[in-house]
């Protein structure tokens, strides 16, 4: 007599799992959003939403001269002359503080390390720029044996593991650009 009840209970459990699975997947998914609003000219608006897992998956599949196995070649002269690895290593071990400040009539520029983030700010009369990158992402970017490449795939993984963050925020009279990561698939 109890058999049908057991079957019903198992069915209910299965239905429950089936309904819960997509929700759980959605909760765990991290999204990279890009929003560009241009108030001049044709008033262009760009909205891009990309699951970070998708970017992680497709990046190693791209094989160009510059990008291979999720690693980006940075062989340009000028960049080669700078030992980025040494710079980042120095940043890692340095305490929080300002590395660069430029004050001029037009704008003020500030580059700093603050609470585990590398921060760049530009404050001007008609332009504000904020860039913040978690140090873990910067470290992951340089997690490679070749000094002339950046490990973009590792940086994406580090970014996905990080909490919600606004990476780039640019606002001026003509346009605004915002790049951020969160767990929502929409920009609303």
């Amino acid at each position: 007599m109890r058999k049908p009840e057991n079957i019903l209970a198992v069915l209910a459990l299965l239905v429950g799992f089936a309904l819960a699975a997509p929700a759980a997947q959605e909760q765990g998914e991290r999204w990279l959003h890009i929003r560009v609003d241009d108030s001049e000219g044709k008033g262009e608006k760009v909205r891009i939403n990309l699951p970070l897992a998708l970017a992680e998956k497709i990046l190693p599949a791209v094989r160009t001269a510059e990008l291979r196995e999720g690693r980006l070649r940075i062989g340009r002269p000028g960049i080669r002359e700078v030992d980025i690895r040494a710079v980042v290593e120095a940043l890692k071990t340095t305490r929080d503080g300002e590395f660069l400040t430029v004050e001029s009539e037009k704008e003020n520029v500030r580059v700093a390390k603050q609470s585990g983030y590398l921060i760049a700010q530009v404050r001007g009369a008609d332009k504000n720029v904020d860039v913040q990158v978690p140090m873990r992402v910067v470290e992951a970017l340089l997690d490679t044996d070749d000094p002339n490449e950046l490990n973009v795939a590792a940086a994406l993984r580090a970014l996905a593991a990080h909490g919600d963050i606004v990476i780039v925020d640019v606002r001026d009279r003509k346009e605004s650009v915002r790049v951020w990561v969160d767990s929502r698939s929409t920009q609303d």
């Binding site: 997509p22 997947q25 959605e26 998914e29 999204w31 044709k42 008033g43 262009e44 608006k45 760009v46 909205r47 891009i48 939403n49 990309l50 699951p51 897992a53 998708l54 998956k57 497709i58 990046l59 599949a61 791209v62 094989r63 160009t64 698939s185 929409t186």
Partner: protein, 163 residues
């Protein structure tokens, strides 16, 4: 009469089965609606399943050799299409400017592209699995084409590897 009836029933069954199989992977839909009087309206509704098979039948040499930049992203497109099948629905990209709009969305197991312009509206709907299959066929053909050209292979008309 009974035998003829059975044959007709068999034929009907085969046709129904063929249609069901052809549409088992969904359909590729292309709709172009012109906004100008001289413009043309296009309505295309193709079964998706036979498309990769059709590509297999095209001789290797009839494939145009894609530029290296395009070939480089083919495996990524296959991966992307496969991965998108399991992600929740979302709007991948939306670009708007005065009088124009492009909207790319993942809906269900399909990729939907909508383009609005003063001249026409375009609606394209492609099953993600078809994108993955078609891209991997194109990728395979491109690599064989490259091999054949580099070896000056006499078997270039075939998809089979050089002997």
């Amino acid at each position: 009469m009974a035998v003829l009836g059975k044959i007709l029933l068999g034929l009907l069954g085969a046709v129904v089965l063929a249609v069901v199989l052809a549409y088992s992977e969904g359909a590729v839909v292309v709709r172009v609606t012109a906004h100008q009087p001289a413009g043309e309206n296009v309505n295309l509704f193709l079964p998706a399943a036979p498309l990769p098979l059709t590509l297999k039948l095209i001789p290797n040499t009839h494939f145009p050799q894609l530029p290296p930049e395009a070939r480089a992203v083919l495996p990524a497109l296959v991966e992307a299409a496969q991965h998108l099948e399991t992600t929740p629905d979302f709007v991948l990209a939306e670009v708007e400017r005065i009088g124009e709009r492009v909207h790319i969305e993942k809906r269900g197991r399909k990729l939907i592209v909508e383009v609005e312009s003063p001249d026409e509206s375009v609606y394209v709907e492609i099953p993600l699995r078809t994108i993955a299959q078609v891209m991997s066929e194109v990728e395979r053909a491109q690599s064989l084409l490259g091999e054949h050209r580099s070896h000056n292979c006499l078997w270039a008309d075939s998809l089979l590897p050089c002997p």
